[in-house]
């Protein structure tokens, strides 16, 4: 989980070059082994039969009669996972997301207008990087954006590993109660949004707790990922002005640049640890039934076996394969949405503020530490 600014810490990078799998501890304090090589990470993520998502301890949570795992796609394996995922995939096809693009453009422009009107300086995270994806996922899902102060705060606390487990459990329960109210409202009067669709088309197949689980996961995943890519990505590009100019001026450069930013930044440190189902090997390293494997996505994405000069950001390189969205059956459902948001947001930001610059020295910019998703606490900017 630890970073040296954009990069994984040197110990994690070094682990990739050593044979075997090093011993670490999970966010729960339990023993695990760290998988760092690209091929090994793909092997584990790509095989849900040998490596299960269901072996993890639960957060201590108040008993409210709602199974905390219900509807949480990240805590299920096939065939249960397949059933749930298939209900949602139609909402995230490349075509469906393209239809959302005009609305994404409006949302981006509205936030840029507000930044311009308020004038410099600004915190790019709170003025742009967080609210844009937040509003997009709210509209898509059917969550009232007026409630944002509440759920943005909860989303941030749910991914904060520095908080005591009890507090994270309590926040998760609060979040479930809130989503329960929205689910009940959608069941009475289903809207045009995703909650409404799930109720209308699959209301008979989904338990209330499953609807709550699905919606809670989408809300938090829609917030904490793209928001951090936009914040970190802006900072990374501000430090590479020639690459920023390409993203700003060359429409054809945008899609490859986003893949490179995804690879280079790898905001999700490791996703859900996998538990070994029965004795097997990863690469040629034996692992025993019951062992927990933590996958370092940033280390895998900087594996010199796969990409040349992996520690350099180079938006002009031929698209390098990466596991920033994971791999296997749990590959990010919202990937097409995240890519579309970034493809609109980065060029629009740099075109609107051609003189955009960090407002404080790089050394003083605060990166998050001990969170499930990497990011910046704030990004002071001027123009």
């Amino acid at each position: 989980m630890q970073r040296d600014r954009f990069a994984p810490v040197p110990e994690t990078q070094a682990a990739r070059d050593e044979p075997g799998l090093i011993a670490i501890r999970t966010g729960f304090g339990t023993p695990a082994r760290l998988v760092t090589r690209y091929a090994d990470v793909r092997e584990v993520l790509g095989d849900a039969e040998r490596f299960t998502n269901t072996g993890l301890p639960r957060l201590p949570m108040p008993e409210d009669g709602i199974d905390p795992r219900a509807g949480n796609l990240l805590a299920t394996d096939p065939p249960e996972h397949t059933r749930l995922r298939r209900l949602l995939t139609g909402e995230f096809t490349v075509k469906r997301i393209r239809r959302l693009e005009p609305r994404i453009v409006e949302i981006v422009d509205d936030h840029l207008d507000a930044m311009a009107a308020a004038g410099p300086p600004a915190d790019l995270v709170s003025a742009f990087a967080l609210p844009v994806p937040s509003l997009v996922i709210c509209e898509l899902l059917g969550v009232p954006y007026d409630d944002r102060a509440e759920f943005q705060g909860r989303a941030a606390r749910q991914v904060d590993l520095s908080l005591p487990l009890e507090e994270r459990g309590r926040v998760a329960a609060e979040s479930r109660t809130y989503m329960g109210e929205l689910v009940d409202r959608a069941r009475t009067a289903p809207g045009d949004d995703m909650l409404g669709m799930l109720v209308r088309e699959h209301g008979d197949d989904l338990a209330r707790s499953e609807l709550i689980g699905i919606a809670s996961l989408l809300l938090i995943a829609g917030h904490e990922t793209t928001a951090n890519m936009l914040g970190l990505g802006t900072l990374a590009l501000l430090r590479a002005p020639e690459q920023l100019a390409l993203v700003r001026d060359e429409p054809g450069a945008v899609a490859p640049a986003i893949e490179e930013l995804l690879r280079f930044l790898s905001v999700v440190h490791s996703g859900i640890p996998r538990t070994v189902r029965h004795d097997t090997t990863v690469g040629d390293v034996p692992v025993a039934a019951g062992e927990v494997l933590v996958l370092s996505l940033p280390a895998a994405n900087r594996d010199p076996a796969v990409v040349e000069h992996p520690d350099d950001l180079d938006v002009t390189r031929a698209i390098a394969p990466h596991v920033a969205f994971g791999h296997g059956v749990h590959h990010c459902l919202g990937a097409p949405l995240a890519r579309a948001e970034m493809a609109v947001a980065f060029p629009a930001l740099f075109r609107r503020f051609p003189t955009l610059a960090p407002g404080i020295p790089f050394e003083e910019i605060e990166f998050r530490s001990a969170t499930i998703v990497h990011g910046l606490r704030a990004l002071p900017v001027t123009w």
Binding site: G46, G90, G328, H331
Partner: protein, 64 residues
């Protein structure tokens, strides 16, 4: 060369559509549709990328 797509294994991530839009599409449930089973010579590069980026291993490129 021919593309084989396993629609049961497909998880609808859409990476193939983004990699090779003329060759792949998705149905309403996001499951892969192969528009062109035998890619032309200048599409083979994109198709190889699509196969490599498929998270579920649903795509294969096979020699006839």
């Amino acid at each position: 060369m021919r593309i084989q797509a396993d629609r049961e294994a497909c998880i609808g991530a859409g990476n193939c559509v983004l990699a090779a839009e003329d060759v792949f599409d998705q149905d309403d449930d996001a499951v892969v549709l192969v528009l062109q089973e035998e890619p032309s010579a200048d599409q083979v590069g994109e198709v190889r990328n699509a196969v490599a980026q498929c998270p579920s291993g649903a795509l294969k490129l096979v020699d006839d």
